[in-house]
Amino acid sequence: MSEALVRTDPVSGLDFVSEGVRLSLAGPMARFSLRARQPEVLEQLLGFKLPRQIGAIQAGAACLGPDEWLLRAPAGTKLSLGSGLPVAITEVSERSVCLIVEGPRAAEVLAAGCPLDLDRFTAGRATRTVFETVEIVLLRTGDNRFEVEVWRSFAPWFRTALETAAGQLR
């Protein structure tokens, strides 16, 4: 075997800085889609608690639907797949990339294409939504900080859209 394969990101790793906002690409991480009718079964398998309310984040897991969580964990994290149990654990580490939008005007940049009322989408919340016609998972990790999960093929479009919106702030 010759040298190992290198990763390629769909968008630049360089930060984009504009008036009151910074865009950056989060580093690699492990991502899992967790599904179960009974969260207890997953919790027993994983060894930690899952948030029960749609939109809540707890221990790196965002509750996206009544039986769905997106778990984000350090790169390389492996999970038991729970074979035979009434659960579904699917690794989706490379399905999306995470763009970080932060700064006092971060919400304004996202409002350019996201129909959510971001004033009422407070820190600690997460949801699947859209930016214009592109689906995203939006996590508010601080008053002035959002993390946006976007499928990798949409990432170049999405990043350009965010940069355009940030550049138009006056």
Binding site: A4, L5, P86, S93, G113
Partner: protein, 953 residues
């Protein structure tokens, strides 16, 4: 030359002169002027030509209701905007505007011949005249009408500007920053409510801007609002549409008013969701209907007041007023007090408020009560008017150079109507006012019918002793509709205002009938002899005023027009000269031309490489769904046509997906990874649809099943390695997988590593050759691709695109769903009987396969088609007939779905859907083309290696 600038007054900045041009002539105005006020200050009364009769027109209004003064503004190459209202164009240094709808010039316009032919151009003229003979339409009528029709000219270049867009949420949205809107905002200031106050003008204030007595109040109020942290004021922002659930669309104009705009969006689309909306849109003064009411210099009294108070411009030196309402008196008093000469006040009413008469007397203004204007003299400008008593007697000439009209007020209920609020008729106002809301909305101020402008007499048109059928008394100025057109429509049998509107086109111009609707309605009611409320009211539709396409598109232009999805390997394809095509939203490499090759040569070379050695193909766009849970096999068994429960882990199966109607909707090869885990693939374009359909069944029909679906399309990069050398190339790179034919047969899957990264390795083939589809985590796709290209050089590895992929699969008779099927093809029609689990009690679509139409003979079936001349490649979509000698229209019995040059066979091949095709193998059919008829023989669908010997190696 009538209008002029007064020595003092107005809100313009006289210390800042501004040069601008109109129709190539340079003029000077001041900062704070509009194009309209500055032109009038320069004595320019003639601002446009009307739409149908090309009549000379001047200003009617002073705001966004203006129907006449439409101009085009050029801001440099590609920045040409037609149909702007001169009253809404802010003046700036270097502004370059031109008039419209005239040739060769505004003063001498050839199209004005229409005006003299006017008696031959009544309502419905186009509908009646250009009916016959039919052949004249294409050659004569349409080209002629096209030359004459339309407002302004469409820009011819791509718009180089860019546009912004945003969503906004607020508790209270106030539309209109006149006194009522400002009061509503002040009331909410300092509360916890998020308030947005927007106004279409450059300055907040609305009607207060035309009333110096309110300026101090205005200044203080705006200061208070600016200091309130919960209030956002948007100026130059038009709320153009009011949609469901308090969703209001607005456009903010950011740069057009600047002489040298910095980089930035020209306009911004605001998509506002409000908990509550307050409409404070005000009211628009109504013109009066009489002969000559469109001569330049005849305008709304309120417009003259605005020009005076806001811009310091007098509309004439000798101004007359034709009033039916008190408000006009106050307007002309303001003119008189500012030193403007007043010719007379003519009022339709026999008596008016004594206070008004007293003030007229103090100001020395002659008053004619119970009189009406019956004619206006002058063509390009008012020279005088003829007035007469309302009984027609006592006609007299009155010299004047401007005539103001005060016909009462129309509340601006446009947005209220967009929101589907109901309206109530008020006889005293002669207008509809907001009644019951349909959203969380209320109207305040003049748009609710509450104003302090005094009272008036409601009239449909002024009395005249002249023959009503021979005078042009305009109702809709922009669409050139006269009172007599409306009366004609009624005489011809139109009874509903909706029909009258469409027949006469009244209210259908870009101004949405802001100044004309109620006059038109009352004339129609009068002609029908019925109350106004009986004949209905036409709908107002968005936009309130015309908006640019750019603003509506927002940032969806250029690179952001629509997301173009790219795989991780796309960048390599681009660097290596691929020609791309769009498949759904994906950009896919179609072929990789080398050294100036055309498509056919490149595709032939790519196909040869796959058949002789090894080709490499980016299949990452394939839809992928991971199906996981104890009931996974049961679920797939219900969804797909074929049986899945017995599929062993490590094996793959071709799956065919039907809709309940029995027609093919998608297909793909899927693998069982474990007892409770499957890796499905779908077509590129069908991925989202298939996932949605499966979720639908799972959530609503079979919620008891313990199985979950996760889209993994983007988790994996997929590289197809196809050709006899594929295994040799792959073997040294793979760990943990025995690639030998026995250990890893066709239609199997193995998990292991490749070049150190995890892989799901499929042994599958869409080409008929020994093949693998290597799935690796998407971030490693490009690196693995490059490694394979490098290591494959020894075998002459050749990247191939979707075009070669199509040829290779067609040689094997593999269908492309959506190309060889069209939503009316069953598995039996497609010759895929083998993929239907006939013993399964049920699957989605099974019941439909025994419907009478589906089992009836003569259905179109997929067959091969070999042209008699092997060099002729049929056209996809071409129709097929049995007898080329039959008369036209021929009976078509099918069509070509796929057709290619097959390099492997050295001839053309095609797939076709042909009625009863499977029974016609060997028959010769015909494909009539414009220049010839092509004969072809029906064959089976597998053209190459029918035994599959090349697969199982």
């Amino acid at each position: 030359m009538s209008g002029f600038r007064l020595d003092q007054g107005g809100r313009i900045d006289r210390s800042q002169p501004v040069s601008f041009s109109f129709d190539g002539v340079t003029y000077q105005g001041y900062a704070g002027d509009t194009l309209a006020s500055a032109l009038l200050a320069n004595g320019v009364m003639l601002l446009g030509r009307s739409f149908k009769y090309h009549r000379p027109r001047g200003l009617l209004g002073a705001g966004s209701e203006e129907p006449n003064a439409l101009v085009s503004v050029t801001r440099g190459p590609g920045r040409f905007t037609p149909n702007l209202r001169a009253t809404s164009v802010e003046l700036h240094e270097g502004l370059s505007a031109t008039s419209q709808n005239r040739w060769p010039s505004l003063k001498t316009d050839f199209g004005a011949i229409n005006d003299r032919l006017g008696m031959f151009l009544p309502a419905g003229f186009y509908n009646k005249t250009f009916m016959w003979p039919r052949s004249f339409w294409d050659r004569l009528y349409e080209p002629a009408i096209r030359r004459m029709a339309g407002l302004g000219e469409a820009p011819t270049e791509i718009d180089p500007d860019h546009y912004g867009a945003t969503y906004a949420h607020c508790d209270l949205l106030i539309v209109g920053a006149g006194p009522a809107g400002i009061d509503a905002a002040l009331e909410a200031s300092g509360t916890s409510k998020r308030v947005v106050l927007l106004d279409e003008q450059d300055e907040a204030g609305g009607g207060a801007l035309s009333d110096p007595a309110l300026w101090k109040w205005l200044e203080e109020s705006l200061k208070d609002l600016a200091a309130a942290p919960n209030i956002t004021i948007l100026r130059r922002t038009t709320a153009f549409g009011y949609y469901h659930d308090n969703f209001v669309g607005a456009v903010e104009r950011l740069t057009d008013h600047l002489p040298h705009p910095a980089d930035g969006a020209r306009e911004k689309l605001w998509r506002i969701r409000a908990d509550e909306v307050v409409l404070a849109q005000g009211a628009i003064e109504r013109p009066l209907v009489f002969a000559g009411n469109d001569v330049p210099g005849v305008m709304l009294a309120s417009a003259a007041r605005t020009l005076l108070q806001r811009y310091g411009v007098a509309v004439g030196r000798s101004v007359a007023l034709m009033a039916a309402h008190d408000s006009g008196w106050r307007d002309i008093f303001a003119l008189a007090r500012a030193g403007v000469g007043v010719a007379a006040i003519i009022d339709l009413r026999e008596s008016v408020d004594a206070a008004l008469l007293g003030e007229a007397q103090v100001l020395g203004i002659a008053v004619e009560l119970g009189h009406s204007v019956i004619d206006v003299h002058g063509r390009l400008a008012v020279k005088g008017v003829t007035i007469a008593r309302n009984d027609g007697a006592g006609a007299a000439l009155l010299a004047c150079d401007a005539l103001l009209m005060a016909g009462g007020w129309t509340p601006s209920v446009h947005l209220w109507s967009h929101s589907k609020g109901s309206l109530a008729w008020r006889d005293d106002l002669g207008a509809y006012v907001p009644d019951q809301p349909n959203e969380a909305v209320r109207c305040v101020g003049a748009c609710s019918g509450k104003w302090s402008f005094g009272s008036g007499l409601v009239t449909d048109s002024l009395p005249t002793p002249r023959d009503q059928s021979r005078i042009k008394a305009f109702v809709d100025f922009q669409n050139d509709v006269t009172a007599k057109d409306i009366r004609l429509a009624v005489r011809e049998g139109f009874k509903s205002i909706e029909h009258i509107k469409r027949y006469t086109t009244t209210g259908m111009a870009t101004d949405q009938g802001k100044t004309s609707n109620l006059n038109g309605l009352q004339i129609a009611a009068q002609a029908l002899g019925r109350p106004v409320v009986d004949i209905g009211l036409t709908s107002f539709r968005p936009p309130y005023t015309p908006q640019s396409f750019g603003a509506l598109a927002g940032h969806a232009q250029g690179a952001l027009f629509q997301p173009t999805r790219k795989t991780g390997i796309d960048s390599w394809a681009e660097e290596n000269g691929a020609v791309f095509e769009l498949v759904a939203q994906w950009r896919r490499a179609r072929y990789f031309p080398q050294g100036g090759e055309g498509m056919l040569a490149a595709v032939n070379r790519e196909c040869r490489a796959v058949r002789s050695s090894v080709g490499i193909f980016d299949a990452s766009t394939l839809g992928k769904i991971e199906v996981v849970g104890p009931d996974a096999a049961e679920f797939l068994n219900r969804m797909y046509t074929n049986p899945w429960k017995a599929l062993e882990p490590g094996r793959c199966r071709y799956g065919l997906l039907l809709k309940e109607d029995g027609f093919i909707t998608d297909d793909g090869v899927s693998a069982r990874l474990a007892a409770d885990r499957f890796h499905l693939t779908t077509t590129t374009g069908g991925a989202a649809r298939v996932l949605n359909t499966m979720e639908d069944y799972l959530q609503t029909e079979w919620p008891d099943l313990d199985v979950w679906l996760t889209s993994t399309t983007e988790q994996w990069a997929v590289i197809a390695l196809q050709g006899p050398m594929a295994r040799k190339l792959l073997a040294p790179l793979v760990e943990g997988i025995d690639l030998s034919a026995d250990a890893f047969p066709h239609m199997a899957i193995r998990e292991g590593t490749i070049c150190g990264v995890p892989t799901r390795l499929f042994r599958v083939s869409f080409t008929g050759e020994l093949g693998f589809e290597i799935n690796v985590p998407a971030a490693y796709g490009r690196a693995l691709w490059e490694r394979l290209i490098a290591d494959g050089a020894a075998y002459g590895i050749t990247p191939y695109g979707t075009e070669a992929m199509h040829v290779l699969r067609a040689e094997k008779g593999f269908i492309i769903v959506g190309q060889d099927t069209d939503g009316t093809v069953t598995p039996y029609d497609a010759g895929l009987d083998w993929a239907v689990g006939k013993k399964k009690p049920d699957f989605v679509g099974k019941r439909s396969l025994s419907r009478s139409d589906i089992v009836a003979p003569g259905r179109k079936q997929l067959v091969g088609l070999l042209t008699d001349d092997p060099t002729v490649v049929l056209e996809e979509g071409a129709q097929i007939v049995a007898d080329p000698a039959q008369a036209v229209p021929m009976t078509m019995i099918g069509h070509v779905t796929s057709a290619y040059w097959s390099e492997a066979l050295g001839r053309s091949i095609a797939l076709a859907l042909v009625a009863g095709g499977q029974q016609r193998i060997g028959e010769v059919l015909y494909v009539p083309m414009p220049d010839r008829v092509i004969s072809a023989r029906i064959s089976g669908t597998v053209f190459y290696d029918p035994e599959g010997a090349r697969l199982h190696v």
